[in-house]
């Protein structure tokens, strides 16, 4: 293996710029405080770092539990080839969420307090524990890949022997905290706009996490196909698309029924700030992908599936931002727009995530060896890859 000077590509320049900006903002955040580095205020205490980094971050990592459940619990072996990249994405996702929390918490060095200072009546306490335990589960689910690379067969075998209890624990923990992120907002019935406040928030958050789990798997597989010269598992993705459209349909019916039952349906048609963002969320991010995915032709084309998955992801990101930001503005009496320093931290965290994924894909046996195109690095250990997953 010869070392060469890395070429300066467009994306490397973007990465560099983002990282420099994020570094500046990080210094600002930890030397001058939240007031100097964010647009948060007494009226608007939760902004982009909670709304996007935490709520969307956890949601986007939902592929991990969706797919491990499908493969290990429901024994749908066909999905096995895509399980490793998905678990890796989930694991990285949760690490990045924790990282973002360190920025958002006023006293991040006390993040461990939830371990010893209990308040079981708090939804936040439950989320903290679930996220912590689930990140551990993901680490253990992903560890065999690393041990395999290091040829530590004993460790691989130990982890394999507890893999089913781990998967079950992971699914339960995910169910709990994915829904609990919605439960966080149950306690603000008079503050959150009626287009989004519902006693069913935990159910909506959970169902959308499953939908996102499927959509992200389609999205990631398409991206991997493009950037890692990996063959696209089209028949698998087609099937994921079919399950996805069913989940989206169930979710839509529940949302509609809930709006109707709470007499909030007429609010949709009152022109204004909230209803516009609601319509963007529901029309572009829910109804349009459903319309696309019902068609067999769209489901059979890689481009069609990709577009539908991206729409679903953007739609639910809009949903989380609507719950955490749009829907809270009227009662707060202020408009919130993130400061550029907030945006740069978020961008830096995302860029870091992509970089780590890229490195892992290069040096660890993430993709099934027999299907991977020949790579320059000789990292993969094909003779061992059948042991785990």
């Amino acid at each position: 293996m010869n070392i060469s000077i890395p070429k300066l590509t467009f994306w490397k320049v973007v990465f560099g710029v983002v990282m420099v900006a994020a570094f500046y903002s990080t210094v600002l955040r930890f030397t001058r405080g939240l007031g100097a580095s964010t647009n948060l205020s007494d009226q608007f205490p939760w902004g982009l770092w909670v709304g996007f980094d935490v709520l969307c971050g956890v949601m986007l990592a939902a592929g991990g539990f969706t797919l491990t459940a499908a493969v290990h619990i429901f024994n749908i072996e066909r999905f096995k080839p895509i399980i490793r990249p998905t678990v890796l994405t989930a694991f990285l996702g949760y690490l990045l969420v924790v990282m973002a929390l360190l920025f958002d918490l006023g006293r991040s060095y006390r993040i461990w307090h939830a371990l010893v200072m209990w308040n079981p009546r708090s939804v936040m306490f439950e989320v903290a524990w679930c996220v912590m335990l689930y990140t551990t589960v993901l680490a253990l689910e992903f560890a065999p890949v690393v041990f395999e690379r290091l040829r530590m067969e004993r460790a691989v075998n130990i982890l394999r022997s507890i893999s089913i209890p781990l998967v079950i624990a992971g699914v339960i923990l995910s169910t709990l905290h994915q829904s609990s992120l919605g439960s966080l907002y149950l306690i603000v019935p008079e503050k959150l706009h009626p287009l989004w406040y519902s006693p069913l928030l935990p159910v909506f958050f959970f169902l959308s996490a499953i939908a996102i789990g499927l959509a992200m798997t389609i999205f990631e597989s398409s991206m991997s196909a493009k950037y890692f010269q990996k063959q696209l598992e089209l028949p698998l993705l087609k099937e994921l698309g079919r399950i996805l459209v069913v989940v989206l349909a169930v979710y839509s019916v529940l949302r509609l029924q809930d709006l109707y039952r709470r007499d909030a349906l007429q609010l949709v048609f009152q022109p204004g700030y909230e209803s516009s963002l609601f319509l963007i969320e529901v029309v572009a991010g829910l109804l349009l992908p459903i319309a696309l995915l019902v068609s067999r032709r769209v489901r059979s084309s890689p481009a069609g599936l990709y577009v539908a998955a991206v729409l679903v992801v953007l739609g639910f990101i809009t949903n989380r931002l609507n719950v955490s930001i749009t829907g809270m503005e009227a009662s707060a009496g202020v408009r919130y727009l993130p400061k550029w320093t907030e945006l740069s931290v978020t961008a830096g965290i995302i860029a870091g995530g992509f970089a780590i994924f890229g490195l892992a894909a290069k040096y660890l046996p993430i993709f099934p060896a027999e299907e991977a195109a020949p790579r320059k690095s000789e990292g993969a250990e094909p003779e061992l890859s059948h042991v785990t997953s």
């Binding site: 007494d42 006023g106 708090s122």
Partner: protein, 253 residues
């Protein structure tokens, strides 16, 4: 016995001495600029609002079943038996869920500090524990703010309403709002005019999340059994299939 404050807006003359006494007790700066501020903040725990000759105080309501106590992941808030809701700053991790959740928008944050705290009125917990009234009560020249047992103050407020129904809006704010508060308000103008919400629930807000949280143990047990069961069934099918091919192989021999 749980202590409380009764603030009767028609007795208030808007002298703002309560603001000053509050600042002193909490070792906060107080001058003309701060006196002119009409919002609660990390450096002003109580404000006297005015509209013409009408006044209204805002301060922490010290709820009977406080939302902040319920939402705090590390239990930094505590409702004492005396009535005050107190904050332990050495536990706080700074998640600010209390600020988001409080139905009265009371907890405020030290945004410009590197190591910020949540700040709010704690009904002078140390004084109350020592059997003394709150600083704002002690200084009030007209008796607009009165300190005492909640039940007695409630009885007195009802009596004032009964004796002079023409003077007051027919409601004691805090009697049942979010399950009752330790600050009771009487006013001649609607409470909404001074930013108090009229759409608050009349049962404690923590019930909304507790209803969901209390189902978790069942969900864990049920989920574990269900997922384990599904795993057993789906994998047994495979075993049976494998055993059958084995059988058919041996029988075909």
């Amino acid at each position: 016995m749980s202590k409380a404050l009764l603030y009767d807006a028609i007795l208030c003359i808007g002298c703002k001495l309560c603001e000053q006494a509050c600042a002193e007790r909490n070792q906060l700066p107080y001058d003309e600029t701060i006196a002119a501020e009409s919002v609660q903040s990390a450096h002003k725990f109580t404000v006297v609002l005015s509209q013409g000759d009408k006044f209204m105080r805002r301060l922490c309501m010290n709820c009977a079943d406080p939302t902040c106590v319920s939402v705090c992941p590390v239990g930094a808030f505590r409702k004492t038996t005396d009535g005050p809701v107190v904050y332990a700053e050495d536990r706080c991790i700074g998640c600010r869920y209390c600020m988001l959740a409080c139905p009265f928008g009371v907890p405020k944050y030290e945004w410009h500090k590197v190591l910020p705290r949540v700040r709010k009125c704690d009904l002078c917990a140390d004084r109350v524990a020592a059997g003394r009234p709150t600083a704002c009560t002690e200084i009030c020249p007209t008796g607009a703010t009165k300190f005492g047992d909640r039940t007695e103050l409630l009885r007195e407020a009802e009596q004032r309403l009964r004796e002079h129904p023409e003077r007051y809006v027919n409601h004691i704010f805090g009697v049942s709002e979010v399950g009752g508060t330790a600050v009771l308000l009487l006013s001649s103008v609607p409470f909404e005019d001074f930013g108090y919400r009229s759409d608050l629930m009349h049962e404690p807000l923590p019930l909304l999340t507790y209803r969901v949280l209390s189902r978790i143990p069942d969900l864990v047990a049920l989920g574990g059994v269900l997922l384990g069961g599904i795993w057993w069934i789906t994998h047994r099918r495979e075993e049976v299939a494998a055993a059958e091919t084995e059988k058919s192989k041996s029988s075909s021999k």
